[in-house]
């Protein structure tokens, strides 16, 4: 009786050792073809592990932390920056000054060479043009405007880019104003005046289906609605004020990575202009951080709007502490 299950167990127990292990938080649907291209170009066997944002899971960052004493991952390709800085602060990232990063602006490079940013998303307000005039919406405080009571949404700032955004506000508008803004959002959420959604993707879905007039999301989510022909527009918020937050992808090599040479090859490749351009031309419409990288017309240039001036290192250093505060505030 035990023979069959034991055989089944043995059949699934062994996997061949890969040449490179990548943990990737960029949406699988975009990242997988890119990494497959890298495999084809280099002949390396890449083992890919992907994250998921839509569920309430504890994802790849937690796995990296738990594997710290015996790293399994070579390269962490994050679709945002704050958690990467957090890993750097925990002493988990190796130093590597990639030649491909030479022309990436210093804002998107760690001074100590532990991570590099590329292909970014902007935090925007997605507006349903049947329900609201985008010209009437200027920025973050519009969410609390009584005119839009019950018609606006934001993802709960406990994960992903919303968490990074909420953390960034503290360094940009100051402790008091950021605290007031988030407290008022929470209070309005408890009343149903502001809709606290499960993810940025859901904000996009609710706005594009007309259930909400506008809400916070990222440019990649916005582009999904745009490509489907939904009646939506993107408002790059707070132009003339604090500017629009831009959150780059980041790539980093783990300290003690099992395959360091292959890891460096991947980092060089990922930071190339070709890959950044491919990300801009994909459905995720990532904004190149280098002005001379080719992009389609619907992807804005970083020169084309006022970018929020933030220290990503400062955000990353704060993010764990802020998460605790946001948990106290929003999980109630």
């Amino acid at each position: 009786m035990l023979r069959t299950p034991l055989l089944a167990l043995l059949c699934t127990a062994c996997t061949p050792e890969p040449d490179l292990v990548v943990y990737c938080a960029l949406d699988q649907v975009f990242a997988e073809p890119l990494l497959a291209r890298f495999e084809k170009e280099t002949g390396l066997d890449v083992q890919m592990h992907f994250d998921t944002e839509a569920s309430k899971t504890v994802g790849l960052v937690r796995r990296l932390i738990e594997e710290k004493d015996q790293p399994r991952c070579d390269v962490f390709w994050n679709n945002e920056i704050a958690q990467t800085v957090r890993l750097a602060e925990l002493g988990m990232l190796a130093t590597y000054d990639s030649p491909s990063a030479a022309d990436i602006p210093p804002l998107f490079r760690d001074p100590q060479g532990r991570w590099t940013g590329f292909g970014a998303r902007a935090r925007i307000l997605i507006v349903n043009t049947d329900l609201a005039d985008p010209a009437e919406i200027e920025g973050m405080w519009d969410l609390l405007d009584p005119r839009w009571k019950g018609q606006v949404g934001i993802a709960r700032p406990l994960t992903g880019t919303t968490l990074t955004h909420a953390t960034a506000l503290y360094s940009v508008v100051g402790e008091e104003k950021a605290g007031e803004y988030l407290s008022r959002i929470q209070a309005a959420g408890a009343q149903g005046d502001v809709n606290i959604c499960s993810s940025n993707g859901q904000v996009m879905t609710l706005v594009s289906s007309g259930e909400l007039a506008f809400g916070w999301t990222d440019t990649d989510d916005f582009n999904v609605a745009r490509a489907k022909g939904r009646p939506v527009a993107a408002v790059y918020p707070d132009q003339g004020g604090i500017g629009t937050l831009v959150i780059p992808n980041t790539v980093a090599i783990l300290k003690g990575a099992p395959h360091p040479d292959a890891a460096r090859r991947l980092v060089d490749w990922a930071l190339s202009k070709e890959v950044e351009s491919a990300m801009a031309h994909s459905d995720s419409a990532q904004i190149p951080v280098r002005p001379d990288v080719s992009r389609p017309a619907h992807v804005r240039s970083l020169d084309g709007f006022e970018v929020m001036q933030v220290s990503y290192v400062a955000i990353g250093k704060q993010i764990a502490k802020r998460t605790e505060e946001f948990k106290e505030l929003f999980v109630r």
Partner: protein
């Protein structure tokens, strides 16, 4: 009973299910425990209790009549309605939520309760149906002679109530551990947070690993507080009234109430299972943008092209885990019922199910990626490569879900005539032979049911799938990535594929389970 065999199975269950929890428990300090409960978290616990109670009460209210009508009466279509009634339990709750949120103008706690009740009423119905079927025809005939059908129902209800409550307890446990549904359905309107959100969020905070484990303890305690009474009901023998002289009763005649009863059952199945599946079919075919067969075909083709490998990986892991779990569960379930101190390890079997998936998943990676395995003396064991292989996924899911087939097997052993085993023993059959040749043939429908439970739960698992390397290829991750990215037709087609894969063995089990009484009797 073979003590070495039981000890071996206990060891396997301990390694797969308890060792990851022990690793995590070691992180907790008294200071962590002291900070867990405050006014805010108590409030969350209160809401969670309300959510669980609401779902359990509704599941009880729907499941008891459904189980009774489809198992014991001449309601038209019972043969089809009964297996269809299991389908909602097999659907991922978030898939139910995704369907219902666009169909009803209800949000927040009320919708969460409705969805969780719709997804868990089959637990009550299955227990209720099985209990009605265990009532001996002679008892029922006596009641019929005295006072007709109503008297038969009144006679049977006290016997059916404990198992029905057992099902409701399980519905409660499922509901309080779900946080994706309350979060999703309160995306519009006032936010409805539950305690499981707290467990999840605490893991995001650095230097709070002990607290993160401690935060899960109230939920674990609440889960055990409802699971253990359910087990006590089973132990008391309330769930096992069949003996070797059992005679199956004839279906009760509902008279002019036959068709209204059939309509009520069909309505329940339609709302809980067919509407969500229909909604997904509509979305997969193009939905509001214009439904077409070509669109439907295209969505399925894309889902298979992009996620066929993931579906195959999930199928492989879930099938392997179920196949490994069932023999262990059979031995342990038998020992639970027959061994003198069998009950002592019942709680240990249940514990891995009672903890949140996040905790179990992290415990698994911490245990199996420990630097100790790379020590020169242990390197030869190959644990380092085991960590990245599918074997760890199979082991993890076996450990986490073993309790279900073990309890099912134990319940079936309780219904199994002990005299048959005693006769075989007198004839000289050893303990292993008695298990394999005498007990197993009588229990196979229950073992098939246990296999199905592990298979379904493993197919649906998400939290641990993110954390354990090889589980990252599973189809649930692709589905949730699709949900995030708003690819409606592709997501709907993929969800339907997953539902089909999950439901098929469940339906087969449901058909087999109907023959259990014949096999046992």
């Amino acid at each position: 009973m073979s003590r070495p065999l039981v000890a071996l199975c206990l060891l396997a269950a301990g390694i797969a299910g308890l060792a990851p929890l022990a690793v995590m428990a070691a992180r907790v300090s008294p200071a962590d425990l002291a900070t867990v409960l405050d006014a805010r978290t108590l409030d969350l616990l209160g809401r969670t209790l309300a959510l669980g109670a609401g779902a359990a009460v509704l599941a009880f209210a729907a499941g008891v009549p459904f189980g009774f009508l489809t198992a014991r009466t001449n309601v038209p279509g019972a043969g089809l309605l009964r297996p269809l009634g299991v389908v909602p339990l097999l659907l991922p709750p978030l898939v139910l939520a995704m369907s219902w949120i666009v169909l009803v103008d209800l949000r927040g706690a009320a919708l969460a309760i409705l969805i969780l009740a719709a997804g868990t009423f089959p637990l009550v119905a299955v227990f209720t149906a099985a209990a009605w079927e265990r009532i001996d025809a002679r008892r029922e005939e006596a009641a019929l002679l005295v006072g007709g059908s109503w008297a038969a129902v009144r006679m049977g209800f006290p016997l059916v109530l404990p198992p029905a409550l057992c099902g409701a307890s399980l519905a409660f446990v499922f509901a309080i551990n779900d946080f994706a549904v309350p979060d999703y359905v309160s995306s519009l309107g006032p936010k409805f947070n539950v305690y499981a959100d707290e467990v999840f969020a605490t893991w995001q905070i650095d230097h709070a690993d002990g607290k993160a484990v401690a935060t899960a303890l109230p939920l674990v305690a609440l889960t055990l507080a409802f699971l253990l009474p359910a087990l006590a009901l089973r132990r008391s023998g309330s769930l096992a009234t069949v003996d070797g002289d059992f005679r199956r009763p004839a279906p009760l005649d509902l008279g002019r109430w036959r068709w209204p009863a059939a309509f009520a059952c069909a309505a329940l199945v339609t709302l809980a299972a067919l509407v969500p599946v229909g909604r997904m079919l509509w979305e997969a075919g193009g939905g509001a943008q214009g439904w077409s067969v070509a669109g439907l075909r295209g969505a399925f083709a894309r889902a298979i092209e992009l996620c066929g490998d993931n579906l195959a990986a999930s199928l492989g892991y879930a099938t392997s885990a179920a196949t490994v779990a069932v023999p262990l569960a059979f031995v342990l379930g038998h020992a639970l019922e027959r061994a003198r101190r069998g009950r002592l390890f019942e709680w240990a079997l249940v514990l891995p199910v009672a903890v949140p998936g996040i905790l179990f998943g992290i415990g698994t990676i911490v245990l199996w990626n420990h630097p100790l395995w790379n020590a020169p003396a242990l390197r030869g064991l190959g644990v380092a490569s085991f960590y990245t292989g599918g074997g760890l996924v199979v082991l993890m899911w076996t450990g986490r879900f073993l309790a279900f087939p073990a309890l099912v097997a134990s319940g079936a052993v309780a219904s199994f005539d002990r005299r048959l085993e005693e006769a075989a023993e007198l004839a000289g059959a050893g303990p292993i032979r008695r298990l394999v040749a005498i007990v197993a043939p009588g229990l196979w429908p229950s073992l098939a049911g246990g296999w199905t439970l592990v298979f379904v739960l493993a197919m649906r698992e998400l939290d641990a799938a993110i954390l354990v390397p090889a589980a990252n290829e599973t189809v649930m991750i692709r589905l949730f990535n699709g949900v995030h990215f708003g690819r409606d037709d592709f997501v709907a087609a993929l969800a339907l594929l997953i539902v089909f894969v999950i439901v098929t063995p469940g339906l087969l089990w449901s058909l087999f389970a109907r023959r259990r009484m014949q096999v046992v009797a």
